[in-house]
Symmetry: C2
Subunit: 418 residues, 2 copies
């Protein structure tokens, strides 16, 4: 069968399966999630054997250590996948709930009912655990899902997909509700992205290159974020001890993730006092500072920032630092160089706290807290399927509810339009 | 200036203006809307003179009467544009409201704040009144907007845009918050659709050809509906008098719009009694019936439907009729041939009313009411910018709230992630 007909067949089968999953009770969906969790544990040896095949091929192909690391299914990966599914089974089921209901003057009773999106395509790289995390969340929200992981993880992903399909079938649900694309060729992705008739949403997860490829080739709506250039602004009059802790946490706790701080903006009036102490802590933690000219006068060891530093997502122990005259200048800097991802202010001023929150156009805006809290789990959404920095449908971390939509339900007793 | 640089400049200016409009109070926004309404009335002669230029050109180009009709700005059009703006000024402003707020175990206070989308691009055909309706709704929701109407309406649209810009400037708001693309060449649309950096949403309004062109060429998210193939299912045991009124209203009241009925599905047990009387009313109103073989046995004058009739959007006094064995067969028919737009059941059965509402995957599902109620105004959203049949962001009629999104706002007192 050609790539095209394989993908079209998968998409059609997913659409058919989605209708059954959409009508499925919460109890049934949770039963499947728990069954998959049990099977992942009982079939751990099989999964890891298949993973070894991927690792052997990856070694031949000369993948980097970091890539090999992400590809490996350790005992801890197995435990964490099973635990994740059990947690998702405990979340509230958004499907069928009505958030609002109102009566029209003519007696029509109108409400919005939450429903699954339908079929979701997930396109991602390396990590086989994404296969389980994404499938679990999509099923919980009543969706069918087509998973296209990195070609280097194909054996692992197919082993996991086999387990999911069996669990679905044993629960009396359509096995095709979760499918892994069995084709290594990238053309499979292009064909997938044109199945607008059968697929409702594409979520790409990975590097900026992958995401741009998906956006440019998809006629299906895409939820994504390109990058996280997150800022912390330390205001005049801020609690400088608190500011130090927040900035240190935002930069150092896990520098390689999208919600870590990349640029620090400091009000001029407290810049000398704050930066002198802050820099000592950063330098001790191995953070390289790239400063504006004023910063470099205060911190003579800092490297001079060049224009390319301001929009840069380092994902590393590097930090750009700029001294600003006031909050407005900080907000303008963020509007110009930020990525609408996560921004924080440290302040003790009531008016500026309120204004920062209103004026900064990012998916998560924080007052006196670390940027690292932009995360579905940390903000209370339960698990997350990703973070969106485009505004349509979802802006910020996406949990189970963001994998649903609403339809209008109208009850009448014979109303017609005049 | 080239087409590309003109459009890019417009998009950048719209982005800058959007930041000011986003922060603007409801009072200020309503002031602008009322001022535009007043100016439309006081400058009616100028608008109609410019409209005459379009009409003269259109006549030369040999546009159809229907097109000429939609292009004409009559006195009634002027009145209705002004009235529409005054109504929008009375709607609640969604911006800044927080629908939910919760406390995390670590003391973080999390909420979702409603914010404007940013910059919206509207691509539409002929009708100059869309320029005012769309601009009014976008401004109310705090967005900047770029309008690209049909090239045959350019003089009219520029006259209207001039009025809006002056009203904005007189109110102290950025004139570039509403802009009309001054270029007739279709390349302008292609360039507009690639300004992902500056534009947050594209809404195409018009025929299926225009909408497909937009979806295929846009890297910006698109909200749209292709067509409305709406069904009414008359159930066993339905109140047949009510069913007649609803079906007649759904087909005949305004056959040329997307929420009119295109296919009638009838339960076999009541088909003879119902269709005999219904057909008399339809025939008297000039409705042509295209029936399944069973329908044609009951209605010998009906034309036989062929397979192309079931997915057809007639937008005319033509109706496809099919007799089904039960509700499940009706639901399957809708799933196969429907367009996820609007579906209604006429029934007196409690269980089937509930199940139809759950199982039918359309943006508006009605029980005992006409499909013609799929409309923002009728369902209580105030004015509407369009109807979406894709599920992301909005499914069904879109009002002011659907022109906004939410961001997460987090208040802390020094929380860091551990």
């Amino acid at each position: 069968m050609s790539i095209e007909s394989t993908i079209v067949k998968m998409a059609k089968e997913a659409r058919a399966a989605s209708m059954e999953i959409a009508r499925c009770s919460s109890n049934k969906k949770n039963e499947v999630l728990l069954k998959i969790a049990d099977k992942i544990e009982s079939r751990a040896t099989h999964i890891q054997e298949e993973n070894q095949k991927d690792l052997a091929l990856a070694k031949e192909m000369g993948l980097s250590d970091a890539m090999m690391d992400r590809l490996t299914v350790t005992d801890a990966t197995v435990t964490s996948m099973a635990k994740g599914l059990r947690e998702v089974s405990l979340l509230d089921d958004p499907v069928g709930s009505k958030s609002k209901s109102w009566l029209r003057p003519n007696g029509l009773e109108v409400s919005r009912m939450r429903i699954p999106l339908g079929v979701i395509g997930i396109i991602y790289e390396s990590r086989p655990n994404v296969t389980i995390d994404a499938a679990g969340l999509c099923l919980k929200a009543g969706n069918a899902v087509i998973l296209r992981g990195g070609s280097e993880a194909l054996h692992s992903n197919q082993a996991l997909a086999g387990i999911i399909s069996r669990a679905l079938a044993e629960t009396g649900l359509p096995a095709k509700a979760v499918q892994v694309v069995p084709i290594r060729d990238r053309d499979a992705v292009t064909v997938l992205l044109s199945q607008e008739e059968f697929i409702d949403l594409i979520i790409p997860r990975g590097g900026e290159g992958l995401i741009r490829f998906v956006v440019e080739n998809s006629t299906i709506p895409v939820l994504k974020h390109y990058k996280g250039v997150c800022h912390v602004y330390v205001d005049d009059g801020a609690d400088l001890k608190m500011a130090q802790n927040i900035c240190f946490n935002a930069k150092v706790q896990r520098p390689g993730v999208c919600n870590s701080m990349e640029t620090l903006l400091v009000h001029r009036s407290i810049s000398r006092e704050f930066l002198t102490k802050m820099a000592q802590r950063f330098v001790k933690a191995g953070v390289e500072i790239r400063g504006c000219p004023e910063t470099c006068r205060i911190l003579p060891d800092a490297r001079k920032a060049d224009p390319a530093d301001w929009p840069e997502e380092y994902l590393d122990l590097i930090l750009a630092v700029k001294i600003v005259e006031d909050m407005d200048q900080a907000v303008s800097h963020i509007a110009r160089y930020g990525s609408s991802h996560t921004e924080a202010i440290v302040t003790s001023d009531y008016e500026r706290a309120r204004r920062f929150v209103r004026d900064v156009d990012s998916s998560v805006v924080l007052v006196n807290a670390s940027t690292r809290f932009n995360d579905g789990g940390e903000l209370g959404l339960g698990a997350e399927i990703g973070i969106s920095t485009s505004k349509l449908h979802a802006f910020g971390p996406m949990g189970v509810e963001e994998l649903t939509t609403t339809k209008f339900v109208v009850f009448g007793d014979g109303q017609i339009r005049t």
